[in-house]
């Protein structure tokens, strides 16, 4: 082509940065368009990356894990090789549960390794006792499904069909997994092509130099941000994951942060020991550094290409045997709750230094519904749906109602669900009053009402059922989550937030309510007109308007009674006193509803009926 430049100037660097950003979006586009399972295709649970030869991430989302892989892999890396793994314990937690299939592709130029393209995605089922391979009561990783150690999916360009057959043979959804895997491979190949084209344009040396310079740029940026945003005296923040799906809990996550010079320290000492159930989140240090970096840098230059460059500036301490560093073979399947809570805790800890930039806590997990069975044609169906909840009250605005805290995820259209699965979605909306009050209101959670149109089994993965999403700077906590199964005969069965293998019959209904989010700043300062609008829109009730906002509305006309509002607000201010930085809900009691549920389950199992049966 053209524009050969011999040395790396600043502008070339910026051009390469843009080109890499485009390549990353192209990887996404290729995967979303060719994948099959709704969780990748409609909901976008897949993550791309491009790395240096030694495995540092130049562009991507999660931070690199390839150095760990390179250290472990002893059987040579050749052009045309493509690796696959799903074992968190064999890649230093690059992925954190076995549903995530990770594909790694070395990029060669003239026989020399010049980088890596990589991507992973959540596959629907990889065997084990429960459809979806996310049993809520597993006690070891052996009880979850098939673990794929690092293997060559392609050996110097040739598809390793034996390996593929072996893996797919263990899945209940082999076709979908095949599609999703090949889509991920297609995404990696796209990235590799783009990197090679950059070498055509600028020369290999320049591109490699640019990789280093981009890493260095982030290093320097982060060094400033650390000094600005981290305290010299240690500060701590803690929050809870409700339970482990086996009746134990709650689990405390505690983070202490400080800085020494321009180095930051993030210490998880004080976090509870690992759980017997599968909620352990084997936290990769690299990934956590990336989360910290993204959080800090987002506000200052949102266009930056996130990369690994700043890693030497951050120091992570995670106690062995804790919820975040469990010992093999601890079960990991339901790690999504601790993963999400980590962001709440990180935000809270950083917020102690710069409260004005802080947001409240959100719904704090990725709520799933799994539903499987045989439809009227006798064909096996299996659905996994990710739901959303309240987005925290933020400095710029109210929290969004029923939106995704994880970027780029989308809901599955009702018309899609009803066309392909034996389901009717009777209601999909915003759960009134679930957002915590605030000057900027916390977002409401989701209320979704499913009617099952075929006999089958469901599983639920949710949290924040007992630990409330906290409010900040006077904002109040959001409401917790809840699930209610209403049998065809009218019997009402409250379900816990983590449960699998619940039998449902055609005509049963499930009311799935996710948590709201905490509010931001003092609700007594929120303009009454905004509160009134929320009441008209049934986002906030008349009672909550009075109780939490001190706004008095006429119950019939919904007109504001300004005089009554002023005096009520004055009274509330007097009685309340100054607002705290954080307002937590009640600290979760050790197991309440849960204990009831598990004793009931035990009774039913003894009686040979019901909720806990396993598919053979």
């Amino acid at each position: 082509m053209s524009t050969q430049r011999t040395k790396l100037d600043k502008i070339t660097l910026d051009i390469i940065e843009n080109a890499l950003r485009n390549a990353r979006h192209e990887m996404d586009a290729v995967v979303f368009r060719s994948a099959m399972s709704p969780v990748i295709r409609e909901q976008h649970d897949a993550f791309p990356m491009i790395c240096t030869p030694d495995g540092r991430m130049v562009v991507g989302q999660f931070g690199s894990y390839i150095s760990g892989f390179i250290k472990e892999w002893k059987r040579g890396i050749h052009p045309g090789d493509i690796f696959l793994t799903s074992d968190p314990y064999k890649c230093q937690a690059a992925i954190s549960h076995i549903n995530d299939w990770l594909v790694l592709m070395p990029i060669f130029r003239d026989g020399e390794l010049i980088g890596w393209a990589s991507q992973f995605g959540h596959t629907l089922d990889i065997g084990g006792p429960v459809p979806g391979s996310l049993p809520t009561d597993a006690t070891t990783i052996y009880g979850e499904g098939v673990r794929i150690p690092p293997v060559k999916l392609f050996d110097q360009g040739r598809l390793n069909e034996d390996v593929l057959d072996l893996i797919l043979n263990n899945s209940r959804t082999p076709e979908m997994n095949y599609f999703d895997l090949m889509a991920i491979v297609a995404g990696c190949r796209t990235a590799a092509r783009r990197v090679l084209e950059l070498c055509d344009r600028f020369g290999k040396e320049t591109v490699m130099e640019a990789f280093e310079a981009l890493l260095d740029r982030t290093y320097r940026a982060m060094s400033q941000l650390i000094v600005k945003n981290l305290p010299e005296e240690p500060v701590s923040f803690e929050d809870y994951v409700d339970d482990d799906g086996r009746g134990n809990g709650p689990y405390k996550m505690k983070l202490t942060i400080w800085r020494e010079g321009d180095h930051g320290y993030f210490d998880w000492t004080g976090t509870d020991p690992q759980a017997p159930g599968p909620i352990n989140f084997y936290l990769s240090e690299e990934m956590f550094k990336m989360f910290i970096g993204v959080y800090l840098i987002m506000v200052f230059d949102p266009q930056i290409l996130f990369n690994d460059g700043f890693y030497p500036l951050l120091h992570i301490i995670i106690p062995e045997g804790s919820l975040l560093r469990p010992k093999f073979p601890a079960a990991l399947g339901c790690r999504t709750h601790a993963l999400a809570r980590l962001f709440d805790v990180l935000g809270g800890a950083l917020g102690r230094q710069a409260p004005e930039l802080t947001t409240a806590a959100g719904y704090g997990t990725s709520p799933y519904l799994l539903y499987n069975g045989y439809d009227e044609n006798g064909e096996f169906f299996h659905l996994m749906e990710i739901s959303f909840g309240g987005i925290p009250g933020r400095p710029v605005d109210d929290g969004l109602d029923a939106h995704s805290w994880w970027p780029l995820f989308e809901n599955i259209p009702t018309e899609y669900l009803e066309s392909y699965y034996p389901l009717t979605i009777e209601q999909y909306g915003s759960m009134i009053d679930s957002g915590g009050a605030g000057f900027h209101r916390g977002g409401n959670g989701v209320i979704k009402v499913y009617r099952f149109e075929a006999d089958g089994e469901i599983a639920i993965h949710d949290d924040r059922e007992r630990s409330h999403p906290w409010g900040v700077l006077g904002g109040l906590p959001g409401a917790p989550s809840s699930k209610l199964l209403i049998r065809k005969n009218g019997e009402r069965v409250p379900l816990p937030s983590k449960v699998s293998c619940v039998k449902v019959e055609k005509g049963d209904r499930l009311i799935y309510v996710t948590a709201g989010a905490g509010g931001w700043k003092d609700p007594l300062d929120r303009p009454p007109e905004k509160v009134q609008k929320d009441v008209i829109r049934k986002l906030v009730s008349l009672e909550k308007a009075r109780r939490d906002y001190g706004v008095v509305l006429d119950p019939k006309t919904l007109e504001i009674d300004h005089r009554a509002t002023e005096s009520l607000r004055a009274k509330m201010r007097r009685e309340r006193g100054p607002v705290p930085t954080f307002t937590f809900g009640p600290t979760p009691e050790p197991i309440g509803v849960m204990a009831e549920y598990y004793s009931r389950k035990a009774r039913e199992e003894t009686a040979g009926a019901g909720v806990g049966d396993r598919r053979a």
Binding site: A35, F179, M182, A221, L225, M298, V396, P413, I425
Partner: protein, 684 residues
């Protein structure tokens, strides 16, 4: 004598292009737009163009119009108050949207989400339910609907939308509600989703229908006013409006379904770029329309426009057939900045707009823009030929210097950097429409237009390898040219989700095609298209079973009968392999069947010019030292109006004309073809 008049109302200028159909001669007039009442600017333009061409308004046989009235109403939030009727349980459908928040992680912290186009308090739930295959599961509660419509009317809604679940499969409830509403509030326009977008995915269908309702009152009064003014001026011609997919519709259709015309301007540009390419002997073109705040790129292969099913208007994803245009926030007014923490050079997406505009406009803008960078390097002369505005070179220097200081670069290096970055951004957009879809851009020509396109075209050709780079004679008014050559077009689609197995027969597919084809034919008759100019095309969207995205395949009745349904699978496998590198052993499913009724317009050719005497050198009006890739090179400045057919020049060169400037880089040559296009190629 038959004259055809294209009118493109943009934000700053209203472009008029008059075509003498017999001779292929065109006449051009630009007038300042009058946003208060756009017809004022239009009528002034018509008066002037009739003078220039020496005809009376009565001689104009057809007016073709594209307008941004609807788009602006959306972007500025100035549409109607819309009432929405949804299926029970879905009152919050617009409020929840698809739950999407932007990347990267924590993107939600700074996300600004606009209010829904129909407010929650103006949304009512309808007691009814259909199954995905269209059976009535729960009958319509008409009493409640009546009460709700009356209530919404009394609350003061100005436009009404009905969008019910699975209405694409059976419109029975939506149609009944439409009847009830027409009875209860005859003055309020009604949009129902099964008419506007009979395709599945409820959020997008509802949003698109609501957007239609949102802009309808404004568009309607605009067109009524426009038509009245035309008639008053003695123009009794046919008036047609350009659709987002480059087709034409009647004034009436434009008032009923304004959402189909949201992107008429960009569509006109793409249609014209394809036409210009074909005349120049290149039926496959990439088009690049670079304006002040944004750039639109699109791809046309063998004369066939690429039609997208979804496009974005501001925040909102709208599903109406549109020329597949990628828009990025990169234009002449894009602002260069250097964020403190990273020290990287960023260009856009913020724009200085027209006011205050780039620093060199001297209207108080302090920040360096792409236009300032072009001026600093000399790619843009301080005074355009025949242009009314002269540019403040010193102000541009000061602004770009500030950027340079932050980067440790001198002013020229910084300016070059700004151009390189903005070019890279546009390069990314060009790749999206080509490379990412498995298409090799080196087999395409690049047609560049818009005020800033010709300045960047050569550099982009170099990046993407598309030759020749074609600069049409009037790059500032290409959309209006596109309007002149648009065809009548309308789509008739049916969602038809069926796995291709033994249960699906060829006859079912063919009979659905026939029915849709008949609807299309009826429409063409209603539009008054004579039989010999009617054309009906079909395509079928297919995907592998349960895959999320469809690929449209063009089909014909005969070919399907001859080759069977299996031929669709073979073609799809091949395309899928080309795009994604694998063919699964999964059955294919059909998703939508679509008939496209096309009314061909009378073919015409633009006027060909005779070879010009003399040489290009005679058009040189000045010489400057201009900065290219790190050094100053003495560079001739040409006056485009003095360049004629067959003239040839080599870069570096700057070619100026009324409203734009073309840059020819060192190492490239430029020739003038018989339509007065500039063709730029690498020097041989």
């Amino acid at each position: 004598m038959a004259y055809r008049l294209g009118i493109d109302v943009g934000g700053t200028f209203t472009d008029l292009l008059l075509l003498d159909v017999q001779s292929g001669k065109t006449f051009l007039v630009k007038t300042p737009s009058t946003p208060q009442d756009p017809s004022v600017g239009i009528m002034e333009g018509i008066e002037r163009i009739c003078q220039v061409a020496g005809l009376s308004p009565g001689e104009i046989a057809q007016v073709l119009h594209g307008t941004t009235v609807a788009t602006n109403a959306v972007l500025e939030g100035k549409g109607a108050r819309v009432g929405l009727l949804t299926t029970e349980g879905y009152r919050y459908i617009l409020h929840l949207a698809r739950s999407w928040t932007p990347g990267p992680l924590f993107g939600w912290i700074i996300m600004k989400k606009p209010e829904p186009l129909a407010a929650i308090e103006d949304t009512r739930e309808v007691e009814e339910r259909l199954s995905p295959t269209g059976e009535v599961v729960r009958p319509l509660n008409e009493e409640k609907v009546r009460r709700d419509i009356i209530d919404l009317r009394d609350r003061g809604i100005e436009s009404l939308t009905v969008s019910l679940l699975h209405s694409y499969a059976n419109p029975v409830h939506e149609r009944r509600i439409k009847e009830l509403a027409a009875e209860l509030c005859p003055d309020i326009p009604i949009s129902i989703s099964s008419e506007i977008l009979p395709e599945f995915r409820e959020y997008e269908r509802t949003l698109t229908t609501v957007m239609n309702a949102y802009v309808k009152p404004k568009v309607r009064s605009y067109f009524l006013n426009f038509e009245r003014k035309l008639r008053e001026a003695g123009i009794n011609s046919v008036v047609n409006v350009v659709r987002s997919d480059g087709g034409l519709m009647t004034l009436r259709a434009a008032q009923d379904r304004p959402v189909y015309g949201l992107l008429s301007g960009p569509a006109g540009g793409v249609v014209a770029a394809a036409y210009v390419g074909r005349l120049a002997g290149h039926p496959s073109v990439l088009s690049l329309d670079m304006g002040g705040t944004s750039t639109d790129v699109a791809l046309t292969r063998n004369g066939q426009l690429t039609i997208a099913r979804e496009t974005k208007v501001g925040y909102y994803p709208v599903k109406s057939p549109s020329v597949d245009v990628q828009t990025i926030g990169a234009g002449g007014g894009s602002i260069a900045h250097v964020p403190e923490v990273t020290g990287a050079l960023r260009v856009g997406p913020q724009s200085a707009g027209a006011d205050p505009g780039p620093a060199c406009y001297g209207r108080g803008g302090q920040e360096a823009t792409v236009t300032d960078a072009n001026l600093v390097l000399g790619h843009l002369p301080p005074q355009l030929v025949g242009g009314e505005m002269s540019l403040d070179v010193d102000a541009a220097h000061r602004a770009v210097e500030r950027i340079g200081r932050r980067l440790g670069l001198d002013v020229h290096q910084a300016a070059q950097g700004i151009l390189d970055i903005v070019n890279e951004n546009m390069f990314g957009a060009l790749r999206l429409v080509s490379v990412e879809r498995g298409i090799d851009p080196r087999e395409f020509a690049l047609v560049a237009f818009g005020g800033a396109g010709p300045m960047h075209a050569n550099a982009l050709g170099r990046l993407i390898g598309s030759w020749p780079v074609i600069i049409p004679p009037d790059p500032g008014v290409l959309s209006a040219l596109g309007f002149l050559i648009s065809e009548f077009k309308n789509e008739f689609a049916q969602t038809f989700i069926r796995v291709m197995d033994d249960r699906l027969t060829l006859d079912e597919v063919l009979s659905t095609m026939d029915r849709l084809g008949e609807e299309a034919r009826q429409w063409l008759i209603e539009e008054g298209i004579p039989p010999q100019d009617q054309d009906i095309r079909f395509n079928i969207d297919v995907r592998y079973y349960r895959q999320g995205y469809e690929i449209p395949l063009d089909v014909t009745h005969d070919q399907l009968r001859r080759e069977g349904l299996a031929s669709l699978k073979r073609r799809f496998d091949e395309i899928h392999h080309q795009l994604y590198g694998f063919i699964p052993a999964t059955p294919m499913e059909l998703v939508n069947i679509r008939a496209i009724g096309v009314g061909r317009i009378k073919h015409f050719e633009l006027h060909k010019h005779e070879p010009a005497p003399g040489e290009a050198a005679e058009a040189i009006i000045d010489q400057h030292r201009i900065y290219f890739d790190g050094e100053f090179i003495p560079t001739p400045i040409y006056d485009r109006s003095r360049l004629g057919v067959g003239h040839q020049l080599t870069g570096p060169a700057i070619i100026t004309q009324y409203d734009t400037t073309t840059v020819v880089l060192p190492g490239y040559q430029c020739t003038v073809d018989e339509y007065l296009n500039l063709l730029i190629r690498p020097q041989t």
